[in-house]
């Protein structure tokens, strides 16, 4: 066993010095290879982290949201629908939600305006998300104005700024009293945006949703499970689309690597011939070339993965920011929590390290079973 290990060590030493003899070519290959692994691993780590985080925090979202639909579009919910729902077995709480959007011409961004009766806000106070505070340069005690639906301007004092730790869900939120919300957005008394319901037993949710649709045929229930599934598929879709966009680059690399790994240069053939002439066996040559492929692909994987980890979890995936930002002015500053899927990493490892290593072996085997004299010529 010790002899075997020692032999492999010598082979690795020899392989490394052989790789260093063709420094520029091999470093170029390593760089491109590392870059490919870096991009793939970054997408994978980022989407999985976001998907996991969304899954955890949205687990707290309402079990059922009831929206009223008029001509296929979301309409305001009359308050009497709360009474129409009446007593439904299993529903422990039901209340109207008041929320909507406000387009701010000053910053050209959309805010999500929400009434928060439990926050104890007066009619001239608001709580804002950290994203709004950033784009409007606001602090606690500063004032912010909103143009109401009828053209009047109302000014509010910033009572609190929501914790920047929660920016992923609250970056664009403006919380205000119910009266202030209705006055600004023009939704009359007796109407809500939608209704949220809490259900005691999660297994009864779909049954209750069915009952609600029968009682109120012009409404549609949105279940928490659907919200979670939406985000799950959003990130799966995002990852898939990115991989498709990257497919061209990956294929170009595969062709390049295959060509490099499977086609032997005259110099490499000569090297094999010399090794065989000085007494190396076919197995030794194969071992050496196995290590060569292994060292390059393993190094590329490790360097690429480490760089991706630092990029996503320490650099907040700064390279993806323009894609995520899109047209939005308000973009949450957030640091993804490192949720890592071992299976995904293993898959990436398998598809990056294994094919290259195997691709190097076959042509070497062909060259190393031929007569040294023929190979050297």
């Amino acid at each position: 066993m010790t002899k075997f290990i020692r032999k492999q060590r010598y082979l690795i030493d020899f392989t490394l010095s052989s790789l260093l003899r063709r420094k520029t070519k091999n470093l170029g290959l390593l760089l491109v290879y590392t870059l490919i692994v870096f991009i793939l691993a970054s997408v994978m780590l980022f989407t999985h982290a976001l998907r996991s985080e969304a899954g955890i925090i949205l687990q707290e979202s309402p079990e059922i949201i009831l929206q009223r639909m008029v001509a296929g579009r979301h309409a305001l919910m009359p308050a009497e629908y709360l009474e129409k729902i009446g007593r439904v077995r299993g529903v422990v709480r039901k209340e109207g939600r008041l929320w909507g959007y406000f387009y701010d011409y000053a910053t050209k961004s959309n805010y999500t305006m929400m009434a928060a009766p439990d926050k104890g806000l007066s009619n001239s106070e608001v709580i804002i998300g950290a994203g709004i505070a950033r784009v409007r340069w606001l602090g606690i005690g500063d004032f912010i104005s909103f143009n109401s639906f009828d053209g009047k301007t109302y000014t509010f004092e910033v009572k609190e700024i929501l914790d920047s730790e929660s920016e992923l869900v609250s970056s664009d939120l403006v919380l205000m009293s119910e009266t202030a919300w209705r006055t600004t957005l023009g939704v009359p008394e007796g109407y809500f945006t939608d209704i949220v319901l809490s259900v005691r037993n999660p297994r009864e949710v779909s049954k209750i949703a069915g009952k609600l649709t029968l009682k109120l045929p012009d409404t549609r229930p949105i279940l928490r499970d659907e919200i979670l599934r939406t985000y799950d598929s959003v990130f799966a879709w995002r990852q898939g689309i990115t991989f498709v966009l990257l497919a061209g680059a990956v294929l170009a690399f595969v062709i390049f690597a295959w060509d490099k790994a499977s086609g032997l240069s005259a110099e490499e053939k000569r090297e094999i011939g010399i090794l065989k002439a000085v007494g190396w066996e076919t197995g030794d040559v194969l071992h050496m070339k196995f290590w060569e492929g292994g060292i390059i692909s393993l190094s590329a994987f490790m360097l690429g993965y480490l760089a991706a980890y630092v990029h996503v979890f320490y650099g907040s995936a700064v390279l993806f920011e323009p894609v995520l930002k899109g047209w939005a002015v308000l973009y949450p500053e957030f640091h993804p929590v490192p949720f890592i899927d071992g299976m995904q990493v293993a898959t990436l490892f398998f598809f990056t390290v294994f094919p290259y290593t195997v691709a190097t072996i076959i042509p070497i085997w062909r060259a190393s079973i031929t007569d040294p004299d023929t190979v050297m010529r």
């Binding site: 060590r9 985080e53 969304a54 925090i57 949205l58 707290e60 979202s61 309402p62 949201i65 929206q67 296929g72 579009r73 979301h74 959007y101 961004s109 959309n110 999500t112 929400m114 994203g131 730790e165 929660s166 992923l168 869900v169 609250s170 970056s171 664009d172 939120l173 919380l175 939608d194 949105i222 659907e226 919200i227 599934r229 939406t230 985000y231 598929s233 959003v234 799966a236 995002r238 060292i295 393993l298 190094s299 490790m302 360097l303 993965y305 480490l306 979890f313 894609v323 995520l324 899109g326 047209w327 939005a328 002015v329 308000l330 973009y331 949450p332 929590v337 490192p338 949720f339 890592i340």
Partner: protein
């Protein structure tokens, strides 16, 4: 050999670091969850440019082109957001 050892150690370190940071973020995650529960929030504030990208889970079938008949589709968000599952065949 030294390089491989260092790289393997660094990868092992990422596992330890990830677990440490996850542990450290538990409270923040809990706070975010509490805010979601308290305000009955439904969506992430990742795409704020249009209402149907801000709240994809709440959007309806008529969302496209509702801002203006000539409005361009929001790119790249529109391409990166898949339709909610309930609308797919």
């Amino acid at each position: 050999m030294l390089f491989v050892t260092v790289a393997v150690l660094l990868i092992a370190l990422t596992v330890v670091d990830a677990s440490y940071r996850r542990h450290g973020a538990e409270e923040a995650l809990q706070q975010r969850g509490q805010l979601v529960a308290e305000l009955a929030l439904t969506d992430l504030a990742l795409f704020t440019e249009a209402r149907y990208t801000r709240h994809p889970s709440q959007s309806d079938l008529h969302s496209a082109f509702q801002d203006h008949p000539m409005a361009l589709e929001y790119f790249p968000t529109g391409s990166f957001l898949s339709p909610p599952r309930r609308y797919r065949p």
